[in-house]
Subunit: 75 residues, 2 copies
Amino acid sequence: MDIRRIFGANVRRYRIAAGLSQEAVAVKMGVDRAYVSGMERGQQNVTLLTMWHLAEALDVRPVDLLDETVKKGEK
Amino acid sequence: MDIRRIFGANVRRYRIAAGLSQEAVAVKMGVDRAYVSGMERGQQNVTLLTMWHLAEALDVRPVDLLDETVKKGEK
């Protein structure tokens, strides 16, 4: 699976687990909600620093966001 | 530690473990040797896709490149 989709599925999984909306994550990161939505849909080729800021917003480690055990569409 | 430095230390560690020169990794990725050197020194804010291609070049998983247990300057 494309690394952007693996990343996106993890972002969504951890965001939901943290009880945060896309809007709340966007505000924490200082980005637009549509950008968070695009990341979750695997459409953003984010950089290391964006991954780091997002991990902080979701209170996980950056490495957690590349975990390949997540299944596409896992709620 | 800055995620770019964690990433860089891992790139260097896995490159050496694979017995590859920076030049060899650069050729595999189709980038300049100086870019590989910059990644290893934590000076490149690479994207997910670049991380993916690099992981393939080093025959590791992308998640391995964000492993935080690596120590700076570890040979």
